[in-house]
């Protein structure tokens, strides 16, 4: 992610491609523990992540800034951690 598309840059990037539910969410949870605040970019090709990342954000008071699905089937999520994350 760059400033070119109007989105803030990520503080941490996670490549979870090839991992299936719930592993991408576990990776997101671990990254959130390490980072505590800031923005995480998660790339995954697990189709259920489209449901689970927004659900995780709601549970953790995080904000889903951006979702983009590429033609290859991979989805990029940009998550702003909240106080409770």
């Amino acid at each position: 992610m760059t400033a070119e598309n109007g989105l803030p840059p990520a503080d941490l990037q996670i490549d979870a491609t090839g991992l299936l539910c719930p592993k991408p969410i576990i990776e997101l949870g671990r990254a959130a523990q390490r980072l505590r605040s800031g923005i995480i970019e998660l790339v995954t090709d697990d189709p259920v992540a489209r449901h689970d990342v927004p659900a995780w954000c709601r549970m953790r008071s995080a904000e889903l800034l951006h979702t983009e699905t590429l033609r290859s089937g991979e989805t990029t999520f940009l998550v702003q951690l909240g106080d409770g994350s």
């Binding site: 719930p22 671990r30 523990q33 259920v48 449901h51 927004p54 659900a55 995780w56």
Partner: protein
């Protein structure tokens, strides 16, 4: 199946094996058994025998037949040849949703169907006012479960009925009928015998009136025009015996199960972080509860519980063997992983719940520790 059902079933095979539509003495005996069973089931539900039909097979299949019959009926009663609106919630059983798609493709008597899907809130409940809008202009059939089998959430059926006095309401009560107190206010109510401890593969249909439902494309002319002329009499007799045993205890069992699921919820949520209980907090079935554990793979959870002797169903989408609950979890925007649906059999004890809670808490803690979370 309960012991009563097993004993009743074996006796019913002796007496009721013949085709009740034939004239020979054994057939007459089968017809007599069928008539008694129908009268008993009707009395149990406080309706007349003419309102009760038995349908062999799954509740999904029975729902499909009931909706076809309802569509044909409201179309005839409207006196028009226009489309019939069929409103169905997003959290119906997958088999019912598939039956509705099939209905659109192969409508009864060529009646055009306009299918409307009704969304639900985060607890899994429909919004009555939105459904009212979706039924207009009629004629319309509303297809709704009384309670969701994954979440336990009960739908606001009384309010729905009051708001839609002119619509046909086809109620899927497979998780409640015969097991919990349920007012029969739908045009057609479908239940299944296994829910009250009866045999599998038998559905029951209760009609609000005794008007024939014939007029659909059902070729048989059996009871209500929807029951086959040769229904499985031994299964029906066993179902009626099981219902006689279950109904007097239904209310107390419901209260008991409600206390136990609450106790399980309290024990688990006190000991484990990042767990939510899905579904409606109060408008719910007593015997079903669904947990959602963050960062836990449900298939692993189910396997480990099975190793300790517990048979529970996963509700998660990521178990490879079933896509069943995914649409329900998506409809309420829940996590699709780490979901555990617990359904209590009748006569579960507090000691069993305590033992289950202890095992469940230990397993979740262990799985999370292994993932370093």
């Amino acid at each position: 199946m309960s012991e009563t059902t097993k004993a009743g079933l074996s006796q019913a095979w002796e007496i009721g094996w013949a085709d009740p539509s034939k004239r020979y003495p054994q057939a007459r005996a089968a017809l007599q058994l069928l008539t008694q069973a129908r009268a008993s089931v009707a009395a149990g539900f406080g309706v007349s025998p003419g309102q009760v039909a038995f349908l062999p097979g799954t509740a999904d299949a029975a729902m499909g037949l009931a909706v076809r019959a309802a569509v044909a009926k409201v179309s005839v009663m409207s006196g028009q040849s226009g489309p019939v609106r069929v409103v169905v919630s997003d959290v119906e059983e997958l088999g019912v949703l598939r039956a509705m798609d099939a209905l659109v493709q192969h409508p009864p008597q060529g009646i055009p169907i306009k299918l409307e899907r009704a969304g639900v809130d985060a607890t899994g409940q429909v919004e009555v006012s939105r459904i009212v809008t979706q039924t207009r202009p009629g004629p319309a059939v509303v297809v709704m479960q009384s309670a969701n089998g994954e979440l336990g959430t009960r739908q606001p059926i009384s309010r729905l009925r009051a708001a839609l006095p002119d619509c046909a309401l086809v109620l899927d009560a497979r998780h409640e009928l015969g097991r919990a107190p349920l007012p029969l206010q739908a045009t057609l109510t479908v239940g299944r015998a296994s829910t009250w401890g009866g045999p599998p593969a038998l559905a029951v249909l209760i009609s609000q009136d005794e008007q024939k439902l014939r007029g659909s494309d059902n070729p048989t002319d059996g009871w209500l025009g929807i029951e086959p002329v040769n229904p499985p009499v031994p299964l029906i007799a066993a179902a009626s015996l099981a219902l006689e045993a279950a109904l007097p205890q239904a209310e107390a069992e419901d209260q008991h199960a409600r206390k136990l699921t609450k106790s399980l919820q309290d024990q688990v949520t006190a000991a484990v972080s990042d767990v939510s209980v899905l579904g409606h907090p109060t408008e719910r079935l007593g015997y079903i509860i669904m947990f959602s554990f963050l960062y836990v793979a449900a298939d692993e959870l189910v396997d480990q519980l099975a190793r300790r002797g517990w048979a529970v169903a996963s509700g998660s989408a990521c178990t490879s063997d079933t896509e069943r609950p995914l649409h329900v979890l998506v409809a309420i925007s829940a996590l699709t992983h780490g979901n555990l649906r617990v359904s209590l059999p009748p006569s579960t004890s507090q000691a069993q719940i305590d033992a289950f809670a202890t095992d469940l808490i230990a397993i979740v803690t262990q799985i999370r520790a292994a993932a370093q979370l």
